[in-house]
Symmetry: none
Subunit: 405 residues, 2 copies
């Protein structure tokens, strides 16, 4: 019997044909092809047919957590991914260093893609200058993560996540944070964000770290507000021990949120240069102690957002060459899919189904020879939903609870 399973989510892997074929069709994937011949395939709608999911929502659903119940917003998930320990009721935002010039104009949303080291030094300056705001039970935590990215957490009483973003994804006049309802909590939270923005700007514009920067990192913008509420642990929900191997903060954050064991892998950085070999070895090791290992690979989605078909094809080939063989060497069942289809020609998430492959030793086979969107149309698994994935896995590894007797 198959005792454990690996779920490999290749972010945004589904696509439309570019000229004649999709990236998955074009990629030379001998290792996945061999796997395919011993698998069943299908097409999956992560949420519902045609629905366009964000990565956060799609992952929650695929991992067995109905997003309408468990989605807490992007901010808290990113904060958890940045290893900020959240408490019930914390308000968390995604944050980014940006450049404010000419009095009140955002001229670069990424402060010239500031390097992580400098950002970390600015983080210290920020946390010093906002000490004055930390009174009457309020605590503000700012943490920089990768390059211009970071997270901001407000902890205290009478706060609300129902406030507008100061980062509108556009350049131009600085946006003010506004309450989105008439509650005292939303008003108070918006005021705190606006004070934070002002104090930080006053401090950073004088920072010597910014003296020589073409795009000084002199302001911090926020978006994706959410209120943290804990979720039931993955082990309680599914009755299995689990681990997560991912480079991206969001995916690690989701795993933290669900109480999975998040394994830090050196070189796994969610970029196009991520160390897939190291991730494969980490997955092998994790299986020694876990029933279920969730492996996430991000760069396919990034290539799609860049409209880079060739890059996406090459990266799929890299996955096939560097990661798949290591996963195949285990005795685990192997489920491969994406969280959504990110279409290169459109450079965005879409609601097209994602192919899913289910391999287990001595399992059923549908006789297909390639893992892609078009093959999957004829797959033995048919059309499934994201919420079907965990039950399929639990069934294979013998951990599904019988319903009735």
């Amino acid at each position: 019997m198959t005792q454990n399973a690996i779920l490999l989510i290749i972010d945004g892997v589904g696509d439309l044909p570019s000229k004649k074929f999709t990236p998955l069709q074009m990629a030379k994937t001998p290792n996945m092809n061999e796997l395919t011949m011993n698998s069943v395939q299908g097409l999956m709608s992560p949420i519902a047919v045609g629905t366009v999911p964000g990565s956060d929502i799609a992952h929650l659903q695929i991992l067995g957590y109905a997003p309408e119940k468990y989605y807490i917003g992007r901010g808290p998930l990113e904060a958890l991914g940045a290893n900020v320990e959240l408490k019930e009721g914390d308000i968390a935002f995604r944050a980014n260093f940006a450049t404010l010039l000419f009095g009140n104009e955002i001229t670069d949303r990424r402060a010239g893609r500031i390097e992580s080291k400098t950002a970390k030094e600015l983080e210290n300056e920020i946390n010093q200058c906002i000490q004055n705001l930390n009174r009457n039970g309020l605590k503000i935590i700012f943490k920089s993560t990768v390059e211009h990215r970071g997270v901001l957490v407000l902890r205290g009483k009478n706060l609300s996540a129902n406030v507008s973003a100061t980062d509108s994804h556009k350049l131009g006049k600085l946006e003010i944070c506004k309450p989105l309802d008439s509650s005292a909590e939303a008003k108070k939270t918006a005021e705190i964000i606006n004070m934070f923005t002002k104090i930080v700007h006053e401090k950073l514009k004088k920072s010597k770290l910014n003296l020589k920067r073409e795009f000084p990192a002199n302001i911090v913008l926020v978006r994706g507000a959410g209120i943290y509420r804990s979720a039931p642990k993955f082990e309680e929900v599914h009755g299995i021990k689990s681990a997560c191997i991912a480079g991206g903060a969001l995916y690690k954050g989701i795993a933290h949120y669900l109480g999975m064991n998040v394994i830090e892998v050196k070189g796994a950085n969610a970029t196009k240069n991520t160390d897939l070999h190291a991730k494969g070895l980490a997955a092998q090791k994790a299986l020694e102690k876990c029933d279920f290992v969730f492996v996430h690979v991000k760069a396919t989605d990034s290539f799609s957002h860049d409209g880079d078909v060739k890059g996406k094809v090459k990266f799929i080939e890299k996955i096939d060459k560097e990661l798949i063989p290591l996963l195949k060497k285990t005795d685990a069942a192997l489920i491969i899919t994406g969280d959504h289809s990110t279409v290169c020609a459109l450079r965005r998430h879409t609601g097209y189904d994602v192919p899913i492959l289910v391999y287990e030793k001595n399992g059923r086979k549908d006789g297909l020879k390639k893992f892609d969107e078009i093959s999957a149309m004829k797959g033995g698994l048919g059309h499934i939903l994201g919420k079907d994935v965990m039950p399929i896995i639990l069934n294979i590894i013998g951990k599904a609870k019988i319903y009735g007797s």
Copy 2:
């Protein structure tokens, strides 16, 4: 990117095999075949697997309005389709001229399929003779539409739609309208209908227009009572501008109900002689201003109710020849399906799945060659529900809201 879409609903197009093949299989459809080769196909259960839907319910669901929430009864929808402007709370019925002879016996439910012109003259006589009933805030509106058909609207306070029909679809003794619950409103409404029936009969039996008729149109029967409540507009619900091109009153009524732009097309009359070419041209024109055009073709359903397989096959061929090429000439995505399967051998609606074809430029293809119930079993879209249709369309035209971030 595909900017807009046409949804072509061929009413009752699904069928069972007649001898060996279904009408869709038998029809020679070179234009649809070519489309099929660049599309994905599937099978759709308009409401739920096996459920037999009425046309009204099926259309509401396919257009994204859950019937359990938005179905207001056939009467109000037909009244809207007859261009009667309804107000919140109006009670509306389908009505038809019939023949009452031998004191109290309905001998023809359609008054010898009275011609529209004569019916219109009788409408005037009716609206004169019922003036006495229009008091204490009550207003009665009768409108004849096509041949024996018409609508009756009661406007006023303390009315109910919970009353029985006077048209029981059978010949024989005239049915009395009865309250279907013990409320004062239902009792009052039934009394009004019975008074209306009596006064109209007294008037029409003496009408000179009836003197020479073998089947005098001397009574008006009603059925399909419903209470009008407005629904949220299509543009609010889906965020897109829409138009409807249909001949039948019900379909125009549904479009009015949903706030779609109903385009009147000369020669589009929902009969076997409808001007499909004119409808195609109207669809092309509508796309200039709309994101979404719903085109409805009725006669396939009528042929099925008549048990006329040959007629159904020929009409499908007419659609393929006169309508499809005009729709294909646009840049729009093209979704073709039916609202239900009307089986010629049974002469009624059934719960068998309906084939659905989804074409978009540069979209996924499943390699099928013919659009029919049997091909569709192998289609890349799999088995979907009526409620999936609008999300599929919104995704294709880039108007779906992302769920999550």
